[in-house]
Amino acid sequence: MSDNKKSNKNEWPLWEVFVRSKNGLEHRHFGSLHATDTEMALKNARDVYTRRMEGVSIWVVESKNIHASKPEKNAEFFEPAEDKIYRHPTFYELPDGVKNM
């Protein structure tokens, strides 16, 4: 994904490609490409990212529609989870002899 400020007007828009490699698995980000409309984006994604049967389903979304958290704000952004060790099973000590828990 790119924060492309220098892109010129005639350049085809950038799209992000997500591929489900087989049913039962989630779509995963595979990469990006340029295309002028959704149909071209899907076909280009097929040709660029699934030439060897790497996928059974493709999502494309224009990169400008993706909003991302900011790495430089990670400390405060992810802070709420930081001190909640009681959310992890290892926080709870079990008496000896307890199995399968």
Partner: protein
């Protein structure tokens, strides 16, 4: 940002590199790290794209239908590899068009190997075996590069390269076991591509201007000379199986080091080709410029069509 703030960020960045953490597009990075990555990744991308030309030369003249579809698939892969790499470089804030223009104007380099002509069918074999073989050695090492999108692109590319090398080696094997003329053709291709393949790893470490910083930031993982030696060690036994002779009288297994010693590369030739005076430099750039210029109306038509599609969707929705 104040100088102190930048210093702090640099310190965090260096620590992350030292811990083998990957750097991702939105992370803070020194401007020089960004520029070095743009330079290396875009050159790599240009090499994939220009690399389609010498092989494309033989698509219509491949000796069988199987060889033709194989070569088509390989050339299509090279286009795909170029696209993965351009996308990776774009995440660093440079546009596709800008990179592409740097290639078209000759400002950006691509691998010198593609400035050598493909004169016979055996050259297609030699390219798959040696050129893709050298590229694999380099690219496997780069799967550990510190910039996340580049490393992921390399993983994808490496998965696909193995087919390229094997199909080339098979072409060589069949020719080397064929008629006298075919054997000679295979030997001739090896003679012409051997030294340029060794040059693909770039100048000697002592003469490489970018190596130190690049290694420090783990953009490059192994030095040019290390990778070149790995390649020679891999390929020499493969040439033996073909029964072909590597055109280097100084090539010899060194019992002490466990590596093959090899002769001196013609660095004068290397620099001449880098500077644009190789056999095909001019042809390659002309072909790419011609394709770009003649394709302009297609690109514009696609933009116009895309806009129309959008308008239609808006109308439908309202």
């Amino acid at each position: 940002m104040s100088e102190q703030e930048i210093k702090d960020l640099e310190k965090i960045f260096e620590e992350r590199i030292a811990n083998d953490e990957k750097i991702e597009p939105k992370d803070w990075m020194p401007e020089k790290y960004r520029q070095m990555n743009i330079r290396q990744i875009s050159q790599h991308a240009h090499s994939e794209i220009v690399g389609m030309l010498p092989e494309g030369n033989w698509i219509t003249r491949a000796p069988s239908l199987l060889r033709k579809v194989t070569l088509l698939a390989k050339v299509q892969d090279e286009a795909g590899h170029g696209l993965y790499l351009y996308s990776a470089a774009e995440t660093l804030g440079i546009s596709r068009d800008e990179m592409y223009k740097q290639m078209l104007t000759g400002k950006a380099k691509y691998s010198s190997i593609f400035n050598y002509p493909t004169l016979t069918w055996a050259d297609i074999g030699a390219i798959g075996w040696l050129v893709d073989g050298a590229a694999i050695v380099n690219q496997v090492s780069l799967t550990h590069t510190s910039y996340g999108p580049y490393a992921r692109g390399m993983v994808r590319i490496c998965k696909e390269e193995s087919f390229h090398q094997r199909q080339g080696y098979q072409i060589m094997y069949i020719l080397a076991n064929g008629t006298k003329e075919q054997r000679e053709m295979a030997q001739d291709a090896l003679n012409r591509f051997w030294w340029p393949a060794l040059m693909m790893f770039g100048p000697r470490d002592a003469d490489s201007t970018h190596t130190d910083q690049s290694m420090k930031w783990k953009i490059k993982i192994k030095t040019n000379d290390t990778l070149r030696q790995m390649f020679v060690d891999q390929v020499v036994p493969q040439a033996d199986i073909l029964g072909l002779t590597i055109p280097d009288p100084d090539l010899k297994y060194n019992e002490e080091t466990g590596h093959y010693d090899f002769g001196e590369i013609d660095w004068e030739e290397f620099w001449q080709v880098v500077k644009g005076h190789g056999i095909c430099n001019k042809d390659r750039l002309e072909a790419k410029n011609k394709a770009w210029n003649e394709g302009e109306w297609v690109r514009n038509a696609a933009v116009a069509y895309g806009e129309k599609q959008k308008e239609k969707q808006v109308k439908k929705a309202s």
